[in-house]
C-alpha cells in the first residue's frame, strides 16, 4: 500500500495547502524584505516545507514543537498564528513575542510552541525536558524538535538522545538535513552518516526519509509519534532536504559554495510543486481548486501583513518589562 493511500483525500489536499501557505508566506517576506521594514534577520525555509508540514500533520494541537532560527515553517505548520508571526517580524507589540524576539524567536503556547532558540541546538535539550515533563505528568502528549545538520554537530544532541533513551521519553528528534550550515556543507562538518541510525530500534527508532516528500515525512513521523504516545520512547528521523536559498535575509547569495548542478537537481524536486503535480495527476485537485486556494492564502497573507504594519511598536518605557515573570 503506497503511503498516500492511507491518507484521505482531504488530508492530502490539506498537506498541500499547508505547504503552499508556508511557501507563499516565505515568498512574500522575501519580496518585501529589502524595504527594511522587517528589521530582524529572517531565515527562510523555502524548499523545506514538506518537513514541517509532514511532521506537524502527525501531531495534535497541544503536542510540543521546539524550533530554531529557521522556524517559520514549523510555527505555521503547527498552527501558530500567522498575524502574530508577521507582526513579530515587524517587531511590533502585537507580535507573538511582543517584538522582543524577532524572526528567530516565535512562540504560540496555545498550540504547543513554547519558544524557539537561535542558538543552534538550543532547542534539543529543551524538547527533551518537555518530554520529561510529559512523562512525569503522565500527559498524552509528544514533544518534537526540529534540528538542522549544523545542530547535529553539537554534543548536546548526543547527551539529549541518551537521556531520552534512558528514560524512554516521548520525544521525536527531527533532523532536517538541508546540507548546509550557513555556507558550510555537511561533509565539511560531519564525518559520514550520523551515528544515531545505527542504534537498535528498541532503543531509538530511526528513519532516513526523503524530506521533500510530504507523505513520506508524514508516514514516518506518524509512526514515531505513535510509538512515543504508547510509551515506546524516542525516535530520530532524518529528513533529507536542501536549502534552496541563501542562509539568511533575501539578499544573501545562495551561490559560491555549492556543487555544480546541485541547485537544479533540487529545484526539480521542489516539495510543493512535485506534490501538486501528484495531486493533479491523481485527479484530486483541479487547476481551479489551485487558483482558489492560492487566492485564499494570498488574502490571508495580505491581511497578516496589514495587521503587522498597523501594530504599534513597543514603547521605550516598557523596556524592562518581562525580564522577570510574576
Amino acid at each position: 500500500m503506497a503511503p498516500e493511500m492511507a491518507l484521505k483525500q482531504e488530508q492530502l489536499v490539506d498537506l498541500y495547502y499547508q505547504m503552499l501557505r508556508i511557501r507563499k508566506v516565505q515568498l512574500h517576506i522575501e519580496s518585501l524584505y529589502h524595504l527594511d521594514e522587517m528589521k530582524t534577520p529572517v531565515h527562510l525555509c523555502i524548499g523545506q516545507e514538506a518537513v514541517a508540514v509532514g511532521v506537524c500533520a502527525s501531531l495534535r494541537r497541544h503536542d510540543y514543537v521546539s524550533s530554531n532560527h529557521r522556524g517559520h515553517g514549523h510555527y505555521l505548520a503547527k498552527g501558530g498564528d500567522l498575524k502574530a508571526m508577521i507582526a513579530e517580524l515587524y517587531c511590533k507589540e502585537t507580535g507573538c513575542s511582543k517584538g522582543r524576539g524577532g524572526s528567530m524567536h516565535l512562540v504560540d503556547t496555545s498550540v504547543g510552541l513554547m519558544g524557539s532558540s537561535s542558538i543552534v541546538g538550543g532547542g534539543i535539550p529543551i524538547a527533551t525536558g518537555l518530554g520529561l515533563a510529559i512523562q512525569m505528568k503522565n500527559q498524552d502528549l509528544v514533544s518534537v524538535v526540529f534540528l538542522g545538520d549544523g545542530a547535529a554537530d553539537e554534543g548536546v544532541l548526543y547527551e539529549s538522545v541518551n537521556f531520552a533513551m534512558l528514560k524512554g521519553l516521548p520525544v521525536v528528534y527531527v533532523h532536517e538535513n538541508n546540507r548546509f550550515s550557513v555556507c558550510s556543507h555537511v561533509s565539511a562538518r560531519h564525518s559520514g552518516e550520523i551515528v544515531f541510525h545505527s542504534l537498535p530500534e528498541d532503543r531509538l527508532f530511526s528513519r532516513k526519509i526523503d524530506g521533500n516528500s510530504v507523505t513520506d515525512v508524514y508516514e514516518a513521523s506518524r509512526e514515531a509519534v505513535e510509538r512515543a504516545r504508547s510509551g515506546m520512547g524516542p525516535s530520530f528521523l532524518e529528513c533529507d532536504t536542501y536549502r534552496i536559498r541563501g542562509h539568511a535575509g533575501s539578499g544573501d547569495s545562495p551561490h559560491g559554495y555549492r556543487e555544480e548542478g546541485e541547485m537544479c537537481h533540487w529545484q526539480a524536486r521542489c516539495p510543493v510543486a512535485t506534490f501538486r503535480d501528484r495531486l493533479v495527476t491523481q485527479g484530486l485537485f483541479t487547476e481551479h481548486d489551485m487558483l482558489d486556494m492560492e487566492q485564499r492564502i494570498q488574502e490571508e497573507i495580505e491581511q497578516a501583513f496589514e495587521f503587522a504594519r498597523n501594530g504599534a511598536y513597543p514603547r521605550e518605557e516598557d523596556l524592562h518589562r518581562y525580564l522577570y515573570h510574576g
Binding site: 513554547m114 538550543g122 520529561l132 518581562y322 515573570h325
Partner: protein, 327 residues
C-alpha cells in the same frame, strides 16, 4: 539546632511535599552521601521519579531542566560544585535567563540550580571555584548565596516558589555549623539582605561564607575600638542596594568581603554601587577583600595565602578607619 545540610534538606522535603510539580535531580542526589546530606534519602520518601540521579551531561541536563520547567514542572537541579556549571552556561545564560524576556513573557522558566563551592582540601583549580560574579552579570537570573542555615532553608523555599530561574550557590564552609531553623516551612524573600551586626564606623558587606568571617572580624575590631556594621546581602541578584547604601550613609566607609575572585566580581559591583550612589557619604576608599586573580592552588601553604578571611578584613577596615586618606 540542626546541621546546615539538614536545613537545605528540610526545604527540599517540604517543597516536594507541598507541590507535586517540584522534583530534584542531579548527579548523586540519590546516593549514600546525598549531596552533602542535602538530598539524603529524599528519593526513598518521595520516589525515584521525583528525586533522581542524572548522567554527566551538564549541558543537556540544564536544557532538560529548562524544558521541564516550560512544561509545567519546578525542577531543582543539583551540581556538586559550581566549577561544572561552565558546561551548563549556554542553557543557563542563553536560554533560562532570556526566555521570559525574549518571548514577551509568554513562557517562563521556574528552575532552581544549586551548587556548592568546594573550598579547601587541596581541591585545586577545577574543584573550588566561586564563580558567582559571572552569574551576577547575567540579566534574567536570580542569584542566591546563603550564609546561615536559616537562610539556606528559607531562600530555597523562595527560590522554588519563584517563577524565574534562580541559581543558589552555597559555600562548603557554611556546612560546618549547626543552626536554629524553624521546622515549618517559611520563606526568606529574594532581594532582601540583612544586618548581622549593627555598627557606626564602617560597613562590611560579607557575601556567603564571608559574612561569618566579617562578623568575626567585627568582634575583633570592637576590641580595637572600631564599631563595624556587618551586612549579609543573601541574594546578589536582585541586590538589596538600599540596605547597603543606608548603612554607608551612617558609616561612610565600606569593605566588601567576597569569596570569589576580585576583578569584575561581586565585590566590584558593590564597590561600584557605593562609588556612585553612596559617594556623597563616603569618607574613605572602598576596599575589596576577595580572592586574588588566580586559579586556586592545591597546596595548603598556597591555599593559606590564597584565601582571605578575618585578618584581611580586619586590616582592610583598619586601613580605612585609621590610616587611610580622609580617614
Amino acid at each position: 539546632m540542626i546541621p546546615y545540610h539538614e536545613a537545605v534538606r528540610e526545604a527540599l522535603d517540604q517543597a516536594l511535599e507541598m507541590d507535586p510539580a517540584v522534583f530534584v535531580m542531579g548527579q548523586g542526589t540519590d546516593d549514600p552521601s546525598g549531596m552533602f546530606g542535602t538530598t539524603l534519602n529524599l528519593h526513598v520518601k518521595h520516589g525515584r521519579h521525583r528525586v533522581f540521579d542524572t548522567p554527566l551531561s551538564e549541558t543537556a541536563l540544564m536544557g532538560i531542566a529548562n524544558g521541564a520547567a516550560m512544561g509545567g514542572l519546578r525542577p531543582v537541579y543539583f551540581h556538586n560544585r559550581p566549577d561544572f556549571l561552565y558546561l551548563a552556561m549556554d542553557q543557563l545564560v542563553n536560554h533560562a535567563a532570556k526566555w521570559s524576556y525574549m518571548f514577551g513573557g509568554a513562557v517562563n522558566v521556574p528552575v532552581v540550580i544549586w551548587a556548592c563551592i568546594g573550598r579547601g582540601w587541596g581541591s585545586a583549580a577545577q574543584h573550588s571555584q566561586a564563580p558567582h560574579g559571572m552569574f551576577m552579570h547575567v540579566p534574567g537570573l536570580k542569584l542566591v548565596m546563603p550564609g546561615t542555615g536559616f537562610d539556606a532553608k528559607g531562600l530555597m523555599l523562595s527560590a522554588i516558589a519563584d517563577d524565574n530561574p534562580v541559581l543558589i550557590i552555597e559555600h562548603r564552609f557554611n556546612f560546618r555549623r549547626r543552626c536554629q531553623v524553624p521546622q515549618s516551612p517559611y520563606r526568606v524573600p529574594l532581594g532582601k539582605g540583612v544586618v548581622r551586626r549593627k555598627g557606626r564606623d564602617v560597613t562590611v558587606v560579607g557575601v556567603s561564607y564571608m559574612a561569618a568571617e566579617a562578623y568575626q572580624a567585627a568582634e575583633e575590631l570592637a576590641g580595637q575600638g572600631i564599631d563595624a556594621e556587618v551586612i549579609d546581602p543573601r541574594t546578589l541578584k536582585p541586590l538589596d542596594e538600599e540596605l547597603i547604601l543606608d548603612s554607608v550613609k551612617k558609616t561612610g566607609r565600606v569593605v566588601v568581603a567576597d569569596p570569589g575572585w576580585k576583578t569584575c566580581g561581586a565585590a566590584a559591583e558593590i564597590a561600584a554601587l557605593v562609588a556612585d550612589r553612596g559617594f556623597a557619604d563616603l569618607k574613605a576608599p572602598v576596599k575589596r577583600v576577595a580572592c586574588p586573580d588566580l586559579p586556586t592552588p592545591a597546596g595548603f601553604t598556597l591555599e593559606r595565602a590564597y584565601y582571605p578571611g578575618v585578618p584581611e578584613i580586619v586590616s582592610a577596615v583598619r586601613e580605612i578607619c585609621t590610616g587611610g586618606p580622609r580617614g
